[in-house]
C-alpha cells in the first residue's frame, strides 16, 4: 500500500513495524493520539527531520525510502 495523501494508517503501520509504536498488551487495539505523536517524534528525531509529532510531507517521504526490515531501537519507551 502506498503512503497516499491521508496515509495515516500506513504511517501507523510503519511506526508499529519498525518499533516506534507498540501495541498495548491489554485494552483496545487502537492507539492513543499522544502515543502516535510520541512515536512520530521519535521517528522524526532519528531521521533528523523537524520534530513536530505531526505526519508532515517530509515524514511521509522518509517513510517511503527503501530500508532494512529490522526494527529501529529509537523510541526509548518501546525499546525498554
Amino acid at each position: 500500500r502506498t503512503l497516499g495523501p491521508s496515509g495515516k494508517e500506513e504511517a501507523v503501520d510503519y511506526l508499529l513495524q519498525y518499533g516506534y509504536l507498540q501495541k498495548p498488551l491489554e485494552g483496545p487495539d487502537d492507539f492513543k493520539p499522544e502515543d502516535i505523536m510520541e512515536a512520530l517524534r521519535a521517528f522524526q528525531e532519528a531521521s533528523e527531520l523537524p520534530v513536530s509529532g505531526e505526519l508532515d510531507d517530509a515524514t511521509r517521504a522518509r517513510m517511503r525510502q527503501p530500508r532494512c526490515g529490522l526494527e529501529d531501537p529509537f523510541n526509548q519507551k518501546t525499546l525498554k
Binding site: 532519528a46 533528523e48 527503501p66 530500508r67 532494512c68 526494527e71 529501529d72
Partner: protein, 414 residues
C-alpha cells in the same frame, strides 16, 4: 549503536545460497565478499566461504513468498533485506530489488550486504543517518567506508583488530575452500516430471526432491532449487523417500539402509540410524492422516508404521494392491496431501486416490504439467514461477489443471 547479540567465536563460515538475477554472478559475489571485508578490516573476525553443508552465516535472495523465511518481502522498494541476530546467521535479500554495483541506479548490493552482516554479527540500527547501520538506505556512495559509530559498535562486540592480532589472525586463517560453481552438481529439471521423493511438510508446504536438490511447489509456481544439504544439514541427495508426520512433527528421510530424522531443519540426535526392521532401498513413503500412520513402500509391498508404538512387522510387507487399489508397483514417490487425497508418483505420471484409497477415474496424469507448472509441448519447457515470476498465470487455470474439481484445489492451493 545498539548491540543485539554476539558470536562466541571469531572465525565464521559463510555460504552464498543463490544470487540476484540483476547482476552478473561474479559481480554479485564480489560485492558480497567485499561486504564481509568491511567488518574483518576493523575487528578480529575472519570469514571463510564454504560451498556445501552447514555455514554460520547463510546469504540468500527470496521474494514475496519463501518457504524458508517467515518474513516475506514486499517487491521493489521499501524493505530491501533482513537478517537474524547471532547466533542464527540467516541473511536474506529481496530478490525483487534492482541490485547494482558501482552505480547510483538501483540498490547497491555491497552496502546493503554489509549492513545486514552488521546485524548478523550482532549490531542493531544506528542513530547516525550516515552510518552503515542506519535503518534507511542512504544511496550509493562511491567512496563508501564504515562510519565511526559502526566501528565502535563492532569493536564493542569483538574487540579491536590490532596489528599483532592481524598477523596472528592471518596465520590462523583456514584456507578458503576452493571456489567451485555454486551449483556443484547438475540441477534437475522440474519439468522432467520425475521425482525421487515428494513430501507434504511442516506448515503445509509441498516439497519435491530430485537428485541433490529440493524445491517447493506452490500455487503460484516453484520455489528456487536448493541443495538438500543446504536445508537439512547432513542429508544426502538422491533420496529413496521422504515423509513428514504432523502427529510427531518428525520428518523422516530414507536412503539405502539408513533413515534420517529431522524436526523442521534440525537433525535429531542419534540419526541417521540403520534400517533393520524394513527392507532397505525403499521406493516411497507417506503419512495418512486418517489413521495417523506412516506407510513405507517397496516394490509391490508396503509396511504400515506407528511411529509412537512398537509395530509388529511380522505380517509385513503386505501387497500394495491389497490396500491401495489401482496404484503401480515400485512408485518413485507418494504423499498424503492436504486435500485429503493420496498421490502416487511414478516416472512422469501420478495417480490420485480417494479416501477409500482407490485410484480415481482419469488417472494417471502428467506430473510436469499438473504439478510443476510446466507448459506442455513447448520448446521452452521452463516451469512457470520458480525463478521467474509467473506471468499472467491464471490460478483458476492452474486449479483446473491440478485435476479434481477446481473449486477443491483452488481453495486448497489458493
Amino acid at each position: 549503536y545498539l548491540l543485539l547479540g554476539r558470536w562466541r567465536k571469531k572465525h565464521l563460515t559463510f555460504r552464498i545460497l543463490n544470487l540476484p538475477s540483476t547482476l552478473p554472478p561474479h559481480t554479485a559475489r564480489a560485492a558480497l565478499l567485499q561486504a564481509f571485508q568491511y567488518w574483518s578490516n576493523v575487528a578480529p573476525l575472519t570469514f571463510r566461504e564454504v560451498q556445501a553443508g552447514w555455514a554460520d552465516i547463510r546469504l540468500s535472495f527470496h521474494g514475496r513468498q519463501s518457504p524458508y523465511c517467515s518474513n516475506s518481502f514486499d517487491g521493489p522498494g521499501r524493505v530491501l533485506a533482513h537478517a537474524d541476530i547471532p547466533e542464527l546467521g540467516s541473511v536474506h535479500f529481496d530478490e525483487d530489488e534492482l541490485w547494482t554495483e558501482r552505480t547510483y541506479r538501483g540498490v547497491n548490493l555491497r552496502i546493503i550486504a554489509a549492513h545486514e552482516l552488521g546485524h548478523a554479527l550482532g549490531l542493531g540500527h544506528s542513530r547516525y543517518t550516515q552510518a552503515l547501520m542506519a535503518p534507511v538506505y542512504a544511496g550509493y556512495r562511491p567512496h563508501f567506508k564504515l562510519h565511526p559509530d559502526d566501528v565502535a559498535g563492532i569493536q564493542a562486540l569483538y574487540g579491536k583488530k590490532s596489528p599483532e592480532t592481524e598477523d596472528e589472525e592471518e596465520e590462523m586463517e583456514l584456507p578458503t575452500v576452493p571456489h567451485v560453481p555454486t551449483e556443484p552438481s547438475p540441477m534437475p529439471d522440474p519439468c522432467s516430471g520425475e521425482l525421487d521423493a515428494v513430501m507434504l511438510g511442516p506448515r503445509g508446504k509441498t516439497y519435491a526432491f530430485k537428485g541433490n536438490y529440493v524445491w517447493t511447489v506452490t500455487d503460484s509456481g516453484l520455489g528456487p532449487l536448493f541443495q538438500v544439504s543446504a536445508l537439512w544439514e547432513g542429508l544426502p541427495g538422491n533420496l529413496d523417500a521422504a515423509v513428514y508426520s504432523p502427529r510427531t512433527q518428525w520428518i523422516h528421510f530414507f536412503k539405502g539402509d539408513k533413515v534420517w530424522r529431522y524436526i523442521n531443519f534440525k537433525m535429531s540426535p542419534g540419526f541417521p540410524k540403520k534400517l533393520n526392521r524394513v527392507d532397505p532401498h525403499l521406493d516411497a513413503a507417506l503419512y495418512w492422516p486418517f489413521n495417523k500412520k506412516v506407510f513405507l513402500f517397496k516394490g509391490s509391498g508396503y509396511w504400515q508404521w506407528d511411529e509412537l508404538a512398537r509395530t509388529d512387522f511380522s505380517h509385513y510387507p503386505k501387497p500394495i494392491k491389497g490396500l491401495f487399489t489401482g496404484v503401480p508397483d515400485q512408485p518413485s514417490a507418494a504423499m498424503g496431501w492436504r486435500d485429503g487425497h493420496v498421490y502416487f508418483f511414478k516416472g512422469k505420471q501420478y495417480w490420485r486416490l480417494n479416501q477409500q484409497l482407490r485410484v480415481e477415474k482419469g488417472y494417471p496424469r502428467d506430473t510436469a504439467h499438473n504439478w510443476m507448472h510446466c507448459r506442455p509441448q513447448t520448446s521452452d519447457n521452463t516451469p512457470l514461477g520458480g525463478n521467474t515470476t509467473p506471468s499472467g498465470t491464471d490460478n483458476s487455470a492452474i486449479g483446473t489443471n491440478l485435476d479434481t474439481t477446481s473449486s477443491a484445489i483452488d481453495t486448497t492451493l489458493n
